[in-house]
């Protein structure tokens, strides 16, 4: 999700609190998706694809059956121990209001959080297990080479205004969302679908999708093999819009939008104040199999996490954000029920094409930098010890995750002896290196810590604060030797993270390190086209191991939610992407 600019109160406030609000994840860059160049003929036969990628050993058909049965039996999610009540959320929008709450336009986790309460897509990530669950889709399958995907929709799914949610609803919505006229930053997420390029070029208006409303099947033709479509369509870009939304422009979100989710809008949102939702009584049940437990859901807007926390402490909200430096205190007072791991990574990037730190020849130098950095110290000082030290790039929770892909980065603290040995093996003079960070107090602290760590092993770096608004463009265009960045997964797929960030032909230019290794490219392309989850994971793991061995990034910490819950909250299901399943939230 896109990084909210690290908004700071003027000077002194920042000194008072180093804060990493939920949507901020330090420095975080929006991404999109690379299209695999290979093209394959569509095979007529279809093969069922597992509804979950976390159980690769399970047979596909059996997995789909399990999921469908679970929903039919009342859902895989949370039951309501109590129905009714108002949940006031002061966590989601604790640093600013969402820029957008239109599913086709939003680029932020905070906007998507609101959207996920109002809309349901074809699939959804299980809050408990991280597995993919059927949502509006009853089941799905693809042909042998994953170029044609068919989603079978559930019967009787309706929008809150009574309109049916049909296959054609999805087709029309997707075409609206990828149209250049709308200018959605996430339109590239659909670039695997045939017809997407023609729409972008102004040569067509339709995606190669067959919507059979009578049989409730949605057949999606891809321009190249892609095994992760079911995960990708869990993204907000692919959520269905009602008829008025399908033809609406950017102003749609100014009024009352119609969704098919657990809640509906009570009126137009009040920018910078709140967005109020009420239970959608015509909801089809989603992954829980029942309407929302809550009567009302209010997303309260704050502009300062410290006062948002004060508001929570005053009993005015059901959840709240833990301001920087207060993690230990807050979890001691209110428990750690809502501080689970989030699928995000904070890292130090190193430019692969730089004449000093780049290329295969500088691997020892990069590894030395990694060994010299006291990541446990950063976690302790900057994150109040709340994060988990990364031992790889892809975090636990991503289907296919495997620990120990590399020998690098296994030690949490600094290892100056190893760093010095690697530097001596590198055997070249090391000039003063340039380190860029996006201006903020958090980033300044990290930069100073890293500078001190590297100085201890004889590496001098010049730390330079950069304009937050243009930071990633500047990193992309000016190629600093070392730079800070981060990544939060948009959907629970291995391909969304590491493998899209380091591919040579990354269309979305998320490859900030300029990493370019043919073997890595081949493995990720193979993985992307693979429909067998186990084989796909193996390909991605091999690719990631290559990248980590080369130490083109120094992983720092994996993310964790900084959330406190009121004792009045009973159930609070939240998946590792950060989305709270508000349909399953209940009060005591």
């Amino acid at each position: 999700m896109n990084t909210r600019y690290l908004k700071a109160l003027a000077g002194g406030m920042l000194a008072l609190a180093i804060t990493v609000p939920p949507a901020t994840s330090a420095v975080k860059k929006k991404k999109v998706t690379r299209v695999t160049k290979a093209t394959t003929t569509v095979a007529p036969a279809t093969t069922a694809i597992p509804a979950t990628t976390a159980t690769p050993a399970t047979t596909a058909a059996a997995t789909v059956t399990t999921a469908v049965k679970a929903v039919a039996a009342g859902g895989t999610g949370t039951k309501c121990n109590k129905v009714g009540g108002t949940f006031i959320d002061n966590w989601t929008l604790s640093t600013s209001d969402a820029q957008h709450i239109d599913p086709g336009i939003t680029t932020e986790l905070i906007g998507a959080q609101v959207i996920n309460a109002v809309w349901d897509g074809l699939t959804r990530v299980d809050p408990d297990t991280g597995n993919l669950l059927p949502d509006v889709a009853e089941s799905w399958s693809s042909n042998a080479d994953s170029t044609v995907w068919t989603f079978k929709l559930k019967k009787g799914v309706k929008f809150s205004n009574g309109e049916d949610v049909l296959p054609s609803t999805f087709k029309k919505t997707w075409e609206r969302n990828v149209s250049p006229a709308l200018g959605s930053e996430y339109a590239d997420l659909a670039n695997v679908i045939k017809g997407w390029q023609a729409i972008q070029d102004g040569k067509g208006k339709e995606l190669a999708i067959v919507a059979d409303d009578a049989n409730l099947t949605l057949t999606v033709n891809l321009s190249s093999p892609y095994g992760g479509l079911a995960q990708r369509v869990s993204h907000t870009l692919f959520f269905p819009l009602s008829k008025d939304g399908q033809i609406a422009g950017k102003d749609y979100e100014k009024g009352v939008m119609i969704g098919n989710g657990a809640f509906k809008m009570d009126g137009p949102r009040q920018p910078d104040l709140q967005t109020k939702l009420v239970r959608n009584d015509s909801y089809f049940g989603g992954i829980n199999g029942h309407p929302a437990c809550l009567d009302t859901l209010v997303f309260k807007v704050s502009k300062d996490p410290i006062s948002a926390y004060a508001d929570f402490e005053a009993g005015n909200s059901s959840n709240g954000v833990i301001p920087g430096g207060k993690f230990a205190e807050a979890t001691k007072k209110y428990g750690d029920r809502a501080t689970k791991a989030v699928l995000s990574e904070q890292y130090l990037g190193i430019n692969w094409k730089d004449s000093v730190v780049g290329g295969f020849g500088a691997a020892k130098l990069r590894q030395a930098i990694g060994a010299a950095i006291d990541r446990a110290g950063i976690n302790s000082i900057v994150y109040n010890g709340s994060r988990k030290i990364s031992t790889g790039f892809t975090p636990p929770g991503i289907p296919g995750y495997k620990a120990g892909l590399t020998q690098n980065f296994q030690k949490e603290g600094a290892d100056p002896a190893l760093a010095k040995r690697l530097i001596s093996e590198y055997a070249k003079p090391i000039p003063k290196l340039t380190y860029w960070y996006r201006t903020s107090s958090v980033e300044a602290t990290i930069a100073q810590l890293i500078q001190a760590n590297l100085k201890d092993v004889g590496i001098d770096i010049d730390i330079q604060a950069q304009n937050p608004t243009t930071y990633f463009t500047d990193v992309r265009n000016k190629n600093p030797q070392l730079f800070r960045s981060g990544w939060t997964w948009d959907y629970s797929g291995y391909d969304n993270g590491a493998n899209q960030l380091f591919h040579t032909t990354d269309d979305a230019s998320n490859n900030l390190t300029d990493f370019a290794v043919a073997q890595y490219d081949q493995l990720t392309e193979k993985g992307q086209a693979e429909s067998d989850p186990a084989k796909q994971a193996a390909d991605y793991q091999q690719a990631e191991a290559i990248m980590l061995d080369q130490a083109v990034v120094i992983p720092l910490v994996w993310g964790r939610f900084q959330t406190v819950l009121s004792p009045k909250v009973d159930q609070y299901p939240q998946n590792a992407l950060g989305f709270v399943d508000f349909g399953g939230v209940s009060l005591k």
Binding site: A10, E185, D304, I306, D311, E313, N467, T469
Partner: protein, 332 residues
């Protein structure tokens, strides 16, 4: 008088034009490309780039954009936000009322308490009251706004809730509440949401005004005409209110006049801490995002307001002190 006002009005407009022009130029000087901001820094294909440039008038030269901007503004259109497509006119309507209400009450507290305490301290010079109010005034002027805000939030909002004080004794720590007003008068429970931010907004300047009022009042109380008034046997309250206070208010009025601008347009910290959606915090938010139309549009109005406030202060001088004549005529 009329010619003076016309001249000052012209000057005020010149100030607005100059300020807006400087801001406009600065947005072209600071790093950052509008297309990158609009596209979220994603690499944009040339055809999309051209579409965006045309839509936002960015295909014109800087001069062309400048002319286009003024053309729009003079037709009453402040433009649309780059980042979320919101109309700046609408944004202004929403935020200005919030800012004006908060500023009104902040200013009222400043005037009532600042001048009141200052006058009492001067009249009871060197008394315990004078010492205590002097200490409090300096302390108030020195406490950073956000610290005071947080202290009040915890002292009057959080702790009372944790100690289970009755509802009426607790203050909300954030937000606008029901947003029910009669012009600037809060209705129902609205006052509970207003009081803490208004106090915080007023505190720093109340300290200054207290000290300035006291000093001015002391000077005036020692003036010959006040002694004369006392010698004539006038009541002490009449001497203070009718003779001394009116003249002592001149320097205070200058401070208050300048403060109006600060309270209305740039109360960034108070608005942020209490999540009061006013102009100041809005300008700050959009400035971080380099959202030129919003920042220029709202800041222009704040500057215009400031220029008008300054003009009113000058007019106020002539009312308070008839010796001050608003005229362009030369005095021999």
């Amino acid at each position: 008088m009329a010619s003076y006002l016309i001249r000052r009005l012209g000057l005020a407009l010149l100030v607005v034009w100059g300020a807006v022009t400087i801001m406009f130029v600065m947005f072209f000087v600071i790093p950052g490309n509008t297309i990158d901001i609009l596209s979220g820094e994603k690499v944009v294909r040339p055809e999309i780039r051209r579409t965006i440039e045309k839509e936002w008038g960015l295909d014109k030269s800087v001069t062309g954009q400048y002319v286009h901007y003024w053309n729009r503004v003079l037709h009453g259109d402040l433009g649309k936000s780059y980042s979320n497509n919101r109309s700046v006119n609408e944004l202004f309507k929403q935020r200005a009322a919030n800012s004006a209400r908060l500023a009104f009450w902040g200013l009222t507290i400043e005037i009532v308490f600042g001048i009141g305490i200052g006058v009492i301290a001067a009249v009871r010079k060197y008394s315990l009251l004078d010492v205590v109010t002097g200490f409090v005034a300096v302390a108030l002027a020195g406490i950073p706004v956000f610290v005071l805000g947080l202290l009040l939030q915890y002292g009057l909002g959080v702790r009372p809730a944790q100690w289970n004080w009755p509802r009426w004794a607790r203050f909300p720590v954030q937000g606008m509440g029901p947003n029910r007003w009669f012009v600037v008068i809060p209705l129902g429970h609205q006052w509970k949401y207003l009081i803490l931010p208004a106090i915080v907004l007023a505190c720093v300047q109340t300290g200054f005004i207290t000290r300035i009022s006291r000093t001015s009042m002391l000077e005036v109380l020692n003036a010959d005409y006040v002694r004369t008034a006392r010698a004539k046997g006038l009541r002490s309250s009449t001497v203070i209110v009718k003779h001394a206070l009116r003249n002592a208010l001149l320097p205070t009025l200058t401070v208050i006049g300048l403060d109006v601008i600060g309270l209305f347009g740039v109360a960034v910290l108070t608005e942020t801490v209490f999540n009061w959606p006013g102009l100041g915090s809005t300008i700050r938010d959009y400035a971080f995002a380099q959202d030129v139309p919003v920042v220029l549009g709202l800041a222009s109005i704040v500057v215009l307001f400031g220029a008008m406030a300054s003009l009113l202060v000058d007019v106020g001088y002539s009312i308070l002190d008839p010796r001050v004549r608003l005229t362009t005529e030369k005095v021999d």
